[in-house]
């Protein structure tokens, strides 16, 4: 069924979210536009994981909110299973949301403290389908078992669980509608290192078991490298480099990706890594640098970087990067 669907499950094209900043409440003068997400394109194939990586403030979470339709994009398109969903309303939006669910970073604020676990996990089902109390109870028990929770704790409150268990509750909730795509926004960042591996393994098992597709957002490069088939590196609202995970990890071509991956801890404590240090802060998305957005911090900056926006360069193996360094005629000054 879904395996013979041609094309990607989720296709995002030139997605944009600009926030207008008005200076005053009464006079609607525009002080500027924050370009939180500015022309982002990627695809998530069926059963695969796309990693979205970048510093804080680069637009990862805004992208997730746009995909979940918690906010409306100001431009671009989102297609799910071949259907446009960026402007979907009413039944089309409801239908989309039964196929796309999410897990958020903070397992403390993502579970309603006044609801019992059974209510939290069962809510997507009871909100979408007419279902009897008994069926609901069975469905909740089943999905709790799937994520490794004891169904007997269904009548407890979230605060009685540890961070890792809470994240399992959040995952159980996201699975109960049997969605096809999960948006995982920093799913393990708030957890202890010892718990992280358990949750990541659980996510990988579930992916295999249900043929799920993941959009995994993280700033943790090890998590991204471990989990993803494809990686997209975001900088200041744009994708700097995107490609198969092996390509991005072993053969990064964009100076930002190179700097990012050089910051990973080596696998062995004695291992030495040639660390590329970036200086300065990420510039304000209210007033991004001209030309290449990374030029203010790039160790290999050239005069052309301030003048022209680097085009997307197609490299072998479906690897795309936006950098003037990859364009030989520019580098050689021809």
């Amino acid at each position: 069924m879904s395996t013979i669907t041609p094309g990607p499950l989720l296709a995002v094209e030139k997605l944009q979210k600009h926030y207008a900043q008005s200076r005053s409440m009464f006079l609607r003068t525009q002080a500027g536009v924050v370009k939180a997400v500015d022309g982002v394109s990627f695809q998530v194939p069926v059963g695969a994981t796309l990693g979205l990586v970048g510093e804080s403030g680069c637009g990862k979470s805004t992208t997730a909110r746009l995909l979940l339709r918690l906010e409306d994009p100001t431009g671009g398109r989102i297609q799910f299973d071949g259907k446009d969903v960026h402007g979907a309303v009413g039944p089309a939006l409801r239908d989309y949301r039964t196929n796309v669910q999410a897990v958020f970073q903070d397992p403390y604020s993502s579970l309603n403290p006044r609801m019992r676990v059974a209510g939290i996990i069962g809510e997507p089902l009871s909100a979408n389908r007419a279902i009897s109390a008994g069926e609901l109870r069975d469905a909740v028990a089943e999905v709790m078992q799937t994520v490794g929770l004891n169904p007997q704790s269904a009548q407890r409150f979230p605060h009685e669980f540890s961070g890792g268990q809470r994240q399992r509750i959040a995952i159980a909730r996201s699975l109960i509608l049997r969605p096809r795509l999960l948006v995982l926004d920093e799913p393990v960042s708030a957890l202890d290192v010892s718990i992280r591996a358990q949750i990541l393994n659980l996510l990988m098992d579930l992916q295999e078991q249900f043929g799920l597709s993941y959009l995994l957002i993280s700033h943790d490069l090890d998590v991204i490298a471990e989990m993803c088939n494809e990686i997209a590196v975001m900088y200041l609202g744009q994708i700097a480099e995107i490609g198969p995970a092996a390509e991005i990890v072993d053969n990064p071509r964009h100076p930002y990706t190179q700097a990012l991956f050089s910051a990973r801890l080596p696998a062995h404590p004695d291992g030495v890594s040639a660390r590329i240090r970036l200086t300065g802060d990420i510039p304000s998305p209210l007033n991004p640098p001209s030309g290449c957005r990374f030029r203010t911090r790039c160790p290999q900056v050239m005069p052309v970087c301030a003048e022209r926006v680097p085009p997307v360069t197609h490299l072998p193996n479906g690897h795309l990067a936006s950098c003037h360094l990859l364009n030989e005629s520019v580098v050689l000054g021809v």
Partner: protein
């Protein structure tokens, strides 16, 4: 009941409020005398334990010789009914308005909050006099005044709280799960406002008692020969130097009730928090 649950029981507020509530409910059964019967032969009798006191009039009598204890008990009934009714209706209006304003934002928020601002700019007493001259004095005036005065406080506090709650992860996830706005408001926002509402309710109840007493005091509230605590104070203020007991016991009753509701509110806030329930 285990020792622990005994120790956690809110003894002080319950002991403060129990007599008031019992008097309010069972009033007529408890009067030693009819609170409206005038006895001009025994005006301004001091409480029983003072020189000249009469054991038949435990807290003494007022300037018409009516039994003060009976009038106090009768007053509890009126006072409680007015305050509870007024604050409950104000709470329902204010919580609804605040929640809707905070959750939806935009022009709805602007309209609701500007109405609140307008309300806040009108002095309470002026508003009361206005309502009083429109409806005449009495129960309706007091209850309307309390509703008018208190709903805006609720709306403001609840709106602020809702603004922070609607940004929580579970609200976003509820939207992703296709929950309707009504469902999100009732299942995710309202239960998390509960503690705030209860604390606010108990504080408002205390303030409502005071407003009620003030309105009655200026003559727009409960009319004699009925009894209310504010009325007892108003009637007794001329005798403060010679018969201090007339206004004093009513004042004490108000203080006790306000203190009791405030303490009960504090206890409720902790007791209703599922995180603290297990401790």
């Amino acid at each position: 009941m285990t020792w622990r649950s005994l120790r956690r029981f809110p003894w002080i507020p319950v002991l403060l409020l129990a007599p008031v509530v019992i008097c309010g409910i069972a009033g007529p059964l408890l009067y030693p005398h009819d609170p409206t019967v005038v006895n001009l032969l025994a005006p301004r009798k001091p409480p029983a334990w003072l020189a000249g006191g009469d054991p038949a009039f435990l807290l003494g009598t007022d300037h018409f010789g009516r039994d003060l204890l009976s009038r106090l008990i009768e007053g509890a009934r009126v006072t409680l009914m007015v305050a509870v009714l007024g604050v409950v209706v104000a709470a329902v209006i204010g919580i609804t308005a605040g929640m809707v304003a905070g959750y939806f934002g935009g022009w709805i928020d602007n309209v609701v909050m500007r109405i609140v601002d307008v309300k806040m700019s009108i002095p309470t007493i002026l508003l009361t006099i206005l309502i009083g001259s429109a409806f005449g004095g009495g129960l309706v005036t007091i209850i309307c005044s309390i509703i008018f005065v208190f709903w805006a406080d609720y709306a403001r506090v609840i709106r602020g709280e809702t603004l922070s709650l609607r940004e929580r992860g579970y609200v976003a996830l509820a939207k992703v799960a296709n929950c309707s706005h009504v469902r999100i408001l009732l299942r995710h926002i309202l239960p998390n406002l509960f503690a705030t509402c209860m604390v606010l309710f108990s504080l408002q109840l205390g303030r409502a008692l005071i407003v009620e007493a003030a309105i009655t005091f200026i003559g727009l509230g409960i009319q004699p020969p009925a009894s209310a605590w504010g009325l007892l104070i108003a009637e007794g203020r001329n005798y403060l130097a010679t018969a201090w007991w007339i206004p004093t016991f009513a004042g004490l009753a108000i203080t006790m009730t306000v203190l009791g509701t405030n303490l009960l509110g504090d206890w409720l806030r902790d007791a209703l928090d599922p995180k603290l329930r297990q401790l």
